[in-house]
Amino acid sequence: MNRLSTFFYKRPALVTLLLLAIPMLYMIVVYLGSLFALLLNSFYFLEEFTGLVVKEFTLSTYVQLFKPTNLGIFGRTAGMALAVTIMDALIAFPLSYYIAKFASRRLRTYLYIAVTLPLWSSYLVRVYAWKLILSKEGILSWFVNLFHLNSLLDALLSLPGIGGSSLSLSPIGMFIAFCYIWLPYMIVPIQTALERVPKSLLEASSDLGAKPSQTFRNVILPLAFPGVIAGSIFTFSLTLGDFIVPQSLGNSRFFIGQAVYSHQGTSGNIPLAAAFTMGPVVIMVVYLLIARKLGAFDAL
């Protein structure tokens, strides 16, 4: 035993290699291998008559992505992801700011847990909560009735494109649920970014005669921005790839996730489903590159 121990002690590089071998083998073979298989599949095509996948190199599957219906799916999903990201940044800011700058150490621990607890508790159950709240006979309608806002709600639901027969069957409902579900991903990075702003900087600003609102605009907001970008990576990426919320709360107009799900499922068109997922992958890679330029990775 001791000799074995000495043997390893003298060869630290070997030990590192041995430690790394199993996890890396797993991730590279299973995960990267699968991603590669996916990429490969996107260059195959589905023979319409036989319904079988033909394993020959072609770009025809990618060409299908540029049909108007499919472009519509990409546009709709990216638009939703953008709207959710902006809204989440707005909702997250006050709480992040409060936790970072005003909460005592003890309170901060509890607030941090309060923010991350919903994140870890069941994602499906949280979507389900909105199905209950937003349904026609549900709690939100009751409040709308209570405050006599029915005409406002009806006007909102009759808007073309985002309206629907009820909140739980409309893009507005999806928007609310998405904002809710990804909100903690926005709060935490903004909080982290704000915690790094030294108090002396804010004092210097006010010593030099800035009003609180000026300090906020010229010092705090620019320094919080990398945090917002970091958070937006999650809110944007997660909205792009989700099919649970559109399936549960949306109308019949597809999002990227649903398109992928249905192409691989019912029609067995794995090549088209694979090509579809390359959409979010490309969008995310571009997004990450921009985010890195804007300094988001320092705030993660």
């Binding site: 430690l19 199993i22 996890p23 847990i113 006979e137 309608s141």
Partner: protein
Amino acid sequence: MRSKSYGDKASLGLKIGAIGTLLFLHVPLWVIFLYSFTTDESTYSFPLPGLTTKWFGVALQRTDLWDALKLSLQVASLATVAALILGTLAAAAVYRSNFFGRDAVSFLLVLPIALPGIVTGIALRSAIGSLEIPFSFWTIIIGHATFCVVVVYNNVLARFRRMQSSQIEASMDLGANSFQTFRYIVLPNIATALLAGGMLAFALSFDEVIVTTFTAGQQSTLPIWIFSQLVRPRDRPVTNVVATIVILITFLPIFFAQKISAESSDTEGETK
């Protein structure tokens, strides 16, 4: 004397905004809790027409639910074990040495949760399908392990970085071999990080639905059962009860795991 210093006290508007955000995060969960006691069987009407506890009893009788729960627990346990082993090994390797490409290791581990779940899901599905492996219990676990590794890795690596390496040196100087040092010095040091990482990995797997829909065969985990009810609600009252129970079961482990991570990262701040 400064005239108006910045940021000694939160303004009222900020407090209201912060409380509003907190309520937005938590009230929906209370709503579910409330609905599990409704007497309404066919709609989600509010105010509740009446209160009852009978649905808890009905849910307990459902064998499809018990099977789904059992499957979810088995999958989560095995995925957690796999994540603990793989994550700890990777964390130890990255901590020990400054080798070329350790950023690549972190990047590779974080990729499965950074990319949208459908990408991981369909990638695994097309790979497993083209190898003609039947979709089963084991393919679910293979999928879950890929994205659970990173939470263990992050927790354990953070702990390693806070651990004083002088302890290890002292142990070796006093004649302990590497294995004894690991057993008596390293393991006790990282124990709570393993616990926290393991609990979070368990929660992550227990809750996962997107990757699971792609890697499962005919099996139905609890999230898949809930998802089917979300799309086509057939047993509304039972679903309400299941949702409440899921919140209650996951609440305590996650609360403690978060407290362990939050407190240990707080002490890190103090020593700096």
